[in-house]
Amino acid sequence: MNLERLPNEEKLGLCRKYYLIGFAFLPFLWLVNVVWFFQEAFIKPAYSEQLQIKSYVKRSALGLLVWVTVLTTWITIFQRFRAEWGEVGDYISFTIPLGTP
């Protein structure tokens, strides 16, 4: 979808929709929001809806950052310590590697 052909109100509506639905454990929607609307929010010359679009983009970026931190921490801990957790580690794994602990 080419954003340049949309009127500003629709751009704002799209940005808000992506922001709100991203709360349903969908951080990739926030990533899309940030990447897609970055040019609209910060590079383009100012227009009436730009302030709200900017706030939505900033909040999406913040949410995205939180998700990335949480997931990275959990993934690092799991990959590092799963072998030591023995039974618990096996029960929360979908695929257990063969031949290595």
Partner: protein, 706 residues
């Protein structure tokens, strides 16, 4: 690589020329034909690159409650540059100074020692694997990969029983044991026979990998890939848990428990359907073990450690057949062959457990005494030693019974070529199945062996414990028939031992001493059994004793005594079963149909509680080729030999054996030439370069057209 990049160029160019579309289709067809040709060519190209190794024996991973032992390779196989080790000092090339690690080390059997293997284990980053060349003659200095104190933690000698006798404090039974089979290695170790394959390997090494005039060998070098990827890790509890997880995406079996069946027969029939204690039944157990192992998987010739005991006990059972039928003694003799004893007494611990839980036709109170036949093959001085347990002898009634048994053995040896003696009174029992019975009750018993205070067997539980070690050899140019008529020296000595055991058992069971002169073992039978176990099971004598559908299980090589996992039958178990049926049973005139239905005639439903009926194929009469089968009625039964730990699902217990064997991916080995890393890196570099050039060209052409 080249065809993929050229395909890409074709596709990108054809995208530019989208009109006419037939040009693209034309290119696609040409490409497909080109690919098919190269696909057909790929098969024979593989044969030109790789030489597959055919007869390899890997070392596999085994696990118990606390450890994992054995070897492991990466999932697709470990690749390493070949290096023939000349001496222990030459290890320096492999571990530090060689320029092309990782190395695949080829060892002669004289270099397969603990010190070299431990050093290789430390340098694991540079060692990709080890290949041991199995020699055609046994190494004279002896070799035993088992531990110095076999079955240390599973016998009766623990700190509670007697701390001075635990952990081989009193005497070390296997002094040559280097414990290699119980170490863990993270690279594959294979054994190859010294034959054509090995010649190819050595030739490849000579041609490409040898240092010439002190300069390093140049690429391309000869490399080997060994694949023995084991799925199980850590210990039995972990691998059993991973077997049972059922919400995983890929439920794989990772390990299987070791086990098989014990074989037992009674000299007098008893009701086997009723389990638990039997009133008025007093039993003398005559025990022997049926299994062995070596460092490598599926090689376990076990001549002195296992076959000597089995053959002796079978021959004794045969010698006793007439006496126990015509002048039956007071007590019943129970001939028992235990499977899995190498791995912490799987068979005997299970039988004791079954007896304690009323799962066996007898129970522990029915046992009067135990006589076990341990390693009896070699005699340097024709002397046998009678081992007994000093701790239980402190009880006066047990002491009296043991002394009676020993005296029975001593008097039975009079007039025979073997003499018996007792070792030091404070010496403990050697590793034997009798220890598991002692763990449950203080039963009087004796273990017969040809060793006084440490094994005379120089190759205990190794691949060298074979027919050659027992001096059982048959001239090569004889046919199988003729070989069965020729008696090696060992046969005569084993026959004497079998006679001794038979007479002692008869006296111990309360038989009349006047009958003893009639009890003698038959050297012909001993010879045939030894031949079947140590040389070839597929021989004319054994073919007569087995049913028709079993004949293709008879191997043309020495018996493999490894107990194996419960899913696969172990070779010696069925051989012993049919031999014992023939030795102790009798031929009955019963039709084949009735025989296979375990009855004497249509209305008989009592015999199946007492006897086992087997229809065996017999021999062909002289003027015909059809074999005449017959029905053998015997008291031979199988009892399951799986560790009680797996019944009780206690995988971390130290009371029972917890040994399991890992499941593995296909085991292969192959040799090929490898190029230097720079050359290998050149191809993907070239591909990516080509790829980006064509993308750039496409983009710029597109811009031009637009």
């Amino acid at each position: 690589m080249c065809c993929i990049s050229s395909f890409y160029v074709f596709v990108t160019w054809s995208q530019i020329f989208t009109k006419p579309p037939c040009a693209f289709i034309l290119f696609a067809y040409f490409f497909k034909i080109f690919f098919y040709f190269s696909g057909v060519g790929c098969n024979s190209v593989e044969k030109k690159i790789y030489v597959h190794l055919n007869y390899t024996f890997p070392c596999v991973r085994l696990l118990n409650a606390t450890h994992q032992i054995g070897c492991q390779s990466s999932l697709s196989g470990n690749v390493g540059v070949l290096h023939e080790l000349e001496s222990e000092e030459n290890l320096d090339w492999v571990l530090t100074s060689g320029p092309n690690p990782p190395y695949m080390v080829i060892l002669e059997s004289r270099l397969f020692t603990r010190s070299i293997m431990m050093k290789l284990k430390e340098g694991s980053g540079r060692v990709a694997g080890v290949v041991v060349v199995a020699p055609n003659i046994n190494p004279p200095e002896g070799f035993s990969p088992h531990t110095a104190c076999p079955n240390d933690n599973s016998g009766v000698y623990t700190e509670n029983y007697d701390p001075t006798l635990a952990h081989c404090n009193a005497t070390v039974w296997n002094p040559l044991g280097n414990g290699l089979a119980y170490e863990e290695f993270d690279f594959p170790i294979f054994s190859v026979k010294d034959d054509n394959d090995t010649r190819v390997i050595r030739q490849c090494y000579q041609d490409h990998n040898r240092r010439v005039n002190g300069s390093n060998p140049q690429f391309p070098l000869c490399a080997m890939q060994l694949r023995s990827s084991m799925s199980a890790v850590t210990n039995t509890a972990t691998c059993k848990r991973r077997n049972d997880i059922n919400f995983s995406l890929t439920p794989d079996r990772v390990c299987d428990e070791l086990g098989d069946f014990n074989i037992w027969a009674s000299s007098r029939p008893m009701n086997t359907t009723t389990k638990g204690h039997k009133e008025f039944e007093s039993v003398v157990i005559a025990a022997a073990r049926m299994d062995s192992r070596s460092f490598f998987f599926d090689i376990a010739p076990g001549a002195e450690s296992t076959a000597s005991g089995i053959v002796t006990l079978l021959a004794a059972a045969h010698a006793l057949r007439r006496a126990t039928q015509e002048a039956p003694p007071n007590r019943t003799i129970l001939y028992t062959f235990f499977q899995g004893e190498t791995f912490d007494y799987i068979g005997s611990s299970r039988m004791v457990y079954d007896m304690e839980n009323n799962q066996f036709p007898l129970d522990l109170d029915n046992i009067h005494s135990v006589l076990e036949v341990s390693q009896v093959g070699l005699h340097s001085d024709s002397k046998l030693w009678l081992h007994s347990d000093p701790v239980s002898r402190k009880n006066s009634s047990v002491k009296e019974e043991v002394e009676k048994l020993v005296n029975g053995l001593k008097s039975a040896s009079a007039g025979l070529n073997v003499s018996v003696d007792e070792p030091d009174v404070s010496q403990p029992l050697p590793p034997s199945s009798f220890q598991r019975f002692l763990l449950a009750r203080p039963i009087p018993g004796v273990v017969i062996g040809n060793y006084r205070s440490s094994f005379t067997n120089r190759y205990y539980e190794s691949m060298y414990d074979n027919a050659e070690y027992l001096n059982v050899s048959y001239p090569e140019n004889m046919t199988s028939e003729e070989q069965l008529e020729h008696f090696p020296e060992t046969v005569k000595t084993l026959t004497e031992v079998a006679t001794l055991v038979a007479r002692a058992l008869y006296v111990q069971a309360g038989g009349n001493e006047t009958q003893l002169a009639n009890i003698t073992a038959d050297p012909q039978i001993v010879n045939q059994m030894l031949y079947s176990f140590l040389v070839r099971a597929n021989n004319s004598w054994l073919q007569q004793l087995v049913p028709t559908d079993f004949t293709n299980h008879l191997a043309d090589r020495p018996t493999n005594f490894y107990v194996g996992v419960i899913q696969y039958f172990s070779e010696p178990t069925t051989l012993v079963q049919y031999m014992l049926a023939n030795m102790t049973g009798s031929v009955v005139n019963v039709t084949q149909e009735d025989c296979q239905k375990q009855r004497e005639d249509k209305d008989d439903d009592q015999s199946k509680h007492l006897y086992t009926y087997m229809w065996v194929q017999g021999a062909a009469p002289p003027n015909s080729t059809e074999r005449e089968g017959f029905c053998v009625r015997s008291t031979v039964h199988r009892s399951i030999a799986v560790s009680p730990a797996f019944e009780l699902h206690e995988y971390t217990t130290s009371n029972y054996s917890t040994w399991t064997e890992s499941v593995w991916k296909p085991i292969t080995g192959r040799i090929f030439l490898v190029a230097s890393h720079d050359l290998e890196q050149l191809r993907p570099d070239f591909f990516f370069f080509f790829f980006f050039i064509s993308v750039r060209l496409t983009v710029s052409l597109k811009i031009l057209i637009d």
